[in-house]
Amino acid sequence: MLEVKNLKVNRGGTNILKAVSLSIKEGETHILMGPNGSGKSTLANALLGNPLYTVAGGKILLDKMPLVKLSPDKRAKLGLFLAFQYPVEVEGVSMRSFLRTVYIELKKSGENFNKNLVESLKLLNINENFMGRALNFGFSGGEKKKSEILQLALFSPKYAILDETDSGLDVASLRTVAEGISALKKTNPKLGILMITHNPRILKYLNADVVHIMFQGKIIKSGNAALVKEVEEKGYGDTKSKLIMMNSERIG
């Protein structure tokens, strides 16, 4: 189980997350929605330990193991993965050597690397010559997102945070990425997912167990997939969000 308890996070001296709590059980898919600037990406970064973000209070537990004091690489080794909203480009480091280095780091051996890589490429319909290119370097938006999901498939973490993996994609790419994620889910049913999204369309491909609405650094409402519909109809523009907030049960 991935548990976030009363998590408070600052960036550059500003308090962004104000006591956020949620817990994701093995195999569950959670959707996190909310307007821009509500703190969704901050949560994603804080979960992996981005040094630009400071945890001012609360806990993050992965299968009971406290993470807050651990460096990002240790969190990854415990089974946490973040698909970045804006994956960085690294010139001069080839995809293949990067994937292989990480694979060996996580699995303690390079065994089955090639086999798993070929399978993951196939699953996501990615051309093998992708591997000769530099890490995310000069990739289109869609290629970058595919690169993230490829890594998710290959590294097989326990819990994955997908930060707007579905945004900025054309319809065809969205479809590939979403189908990739749901195929992954099938091969690895224990994978827990926290999907940060603006886009209710993703739910055509993914069954959400829980939906959370974040607003001004807090989760103001959690519920089942029906909550997405509510957002779709009412939106969470400023005024409406406040309405939702007033009407919602406080969680955590």
């Binding site: 460096s71 780091e105 590294f155």
Partner: protein, 464 residues
């Protein structure tokens, strides 16, 4: 952390000195005469040396670049012959010397992918080899002394013609006391597919090594030449002041790659220059990891139309190191082109500079030159600077220059570490990525060696 450099330097070992002959310490006219006498040289070479010695005395230390005030010319040995003869099998070398090259891996590399080897130990080439089929084609790969003996006309025609003794204080010094180095001639239209390798090893304390290399690539030929160098770690300084002259004739191509890995007590002050003729190509691929101080700017003089020069320079400066490297491209004819790429990394208080010149002479029309120099600083104690000079007089020249200096990108670091790679390894990965455009130009085995040397250098932490 204090000594991690010494611990990480694989080649810091030494063997007791057992010289066959060693000149007394210090530098004077007798030193110069002594070296010439031992080598039994023609008179013209002795007078050349003596004139060069006078030039050396008259020249000041450079007023720019590194601080060389710690260099005491009279506290060095200028000539040490380690062994009586020049071997053509490794087995016939004295045990210490053979072991040294085994530990460096030269005999193994020779077996696997080299066309020929010259191994210099202190002042003399002690071992040489060249594939029989290349000998048959007329390829000459000798020590400079053998070259002078067997091909006196060619040597006299080219020696000191690209780099006169008076070029700078250290070319004058080399011209006065040179010993060892390679003499190479590649006949017309002969392509030497496998690289030739020279390996320079200093073993003795307070040693001055002054090898002299001359490469002549005749029309339409090709050769790839690689040099490596290492030395023991001593508390006293040594000096390496080489001169390398290359003549690339019409339509020929020469690639000269260096993996410089001197120990941290070596002053490395080297002059390298290539004259490049019609439609010929000269490529310098220069990797600098070691030494206390390096000043080295491999140059291309583009003599005739269509000549092209490429200078790829990489430097990694750590604690107590100052590497002032770069390149010079001088366009003397029309339609010539040059490219300089420099990547320097500074860490743990080290300093690395790019210093370069692009000169397009007035009669050189339609020339192209592009210079890219990037510096990467890994901590707050370290520093980097760029000194690019452009002097363009020729008409219709296209000269481009880009420079950047930066630190390790925090976002890249987080991306890599969030995948499970330690911060240390992530920095290594970024550093290797940074120099990749240059590392990939080395022959594969050397690129791997370079990467593993860099990984060793990086051990002990970014902020160590």
């Amino acid at each position: 952390m204090e000594n991690f450099k010494a611990d990480n330097y694989k080649y810091g070992f030494s063997y007791p000195e057992k010289p066959a002959y060693k000149l007394e310490k210090g530098l004077n006219e007798d030193t110069v005469k002594g070296i010439s006498r031992i080598k039994n040289e023609p008179l013209w070479m002795l007078s050349y040396r003596l004139r060069a010695y006078k030039t050396f005395l008259s020249k000041k230390l450079p007023l720019w670049g590194a601080d060389l005030s710690g260099l005491n010319f009279n506290d060095l040995y200028y000539y040490l012959k380690p062994y009586q003869s020049n071997a053509d099998t490794w087995e016939s070398l004295p045990k210490d010397i053979k072991e040294t090259y085994d530990r460096i891996g030269i005999p193994d590399a020779e077996q696997r992918y080299l066309a020929g080897v010259k191994a210099q130990y202190d002042s003399e080439i002690v071992y040489g080899s060249l594939l029989a089929e290349l000998k048959k084609k007329g390829v000459i790969f000798l020590s400079m002394e053998e070259g002078l003996r067997k091909h006196p006309k060619i040597v006299r025609e080219y020696f000191g013609k690209a780099i006169p003794a008076s070029d700078n204080k250290f070319s004058a010094l080399n011209s006065a006391v040179w010993s060892g180095g390679s003499f190479i001639y590649i006949p017309k239209n002969v392509k030497v597919e496998l690289p030739l390798q020279a390996y320079f090893r200093i073993n003795a304390k307070k040693m001055g090594q002054f090898e002299r290399t001359l490469i002549i690539a005749d029309e339409g030929s090709f050769v790839s030449y690689i040099e490596g160098c290492t030395a023991p770690i001593y508390s006293q300084d040594s000096l390496h002041a080489a001169v390398v002259e290359i003549f690339v004739k019409k339509n020929a191509r020469v690639r000269y790659s260096t993996v410089q890995n001197w120990s941290r007590n070596v002053y490395n002050l080297v002059t390298k220059r290539a004259f490049v003729y019609e439609d010929a190509v000269m490529e310098w691929v220069d990797g600098n990891l070691g030494s206390k101080i390096t000043m080295k700017y491999p140059s291309v003089y583009l003599m005739e139309k269509g000549a092209r020069g490429v200078i790829l320079s990489m430097a990694l400066a750590g604690k107590n190191q100052f590497l002032d490297a770069g390149g010079k491209a001088v366009h003397l004819a029309e339609n010539t082109s040059s490219q300089i790429i420099s990547k320097s990394i500074s860490k743990n208080g080290g300093g690395s500079n790019y210093r370069g010149l692009v000169k397009v002479c007035a009669n050189a029309k339609n020339c192209k030159s592009s210079v890219v120099c990037d510096g990467l600083i890994l901590d707050k104690k370290s520093y980097t600077n760029t000194f690019p000079v452009m002097d363009v007089a020729g008409k219709n020249a296209q000269v481009a220059h880009e420079a950047s200096v930066g630190r390790v990108d925090e976002e890249q670091l987080f991306y890599l570490t969030s995948r499970g790679i330690s911060e240390q390894e992530a920095v290594n990965m970024l550093v290797n990525g940074f120099i990749e455009p240059i590392a990939k130009e080395f022959p594969m085995e050397y690129a791997l060696e370079l990467n593993s040397l860099i990984a060793l250098e990086m051990e002990g932490g970014v902020n160590a």
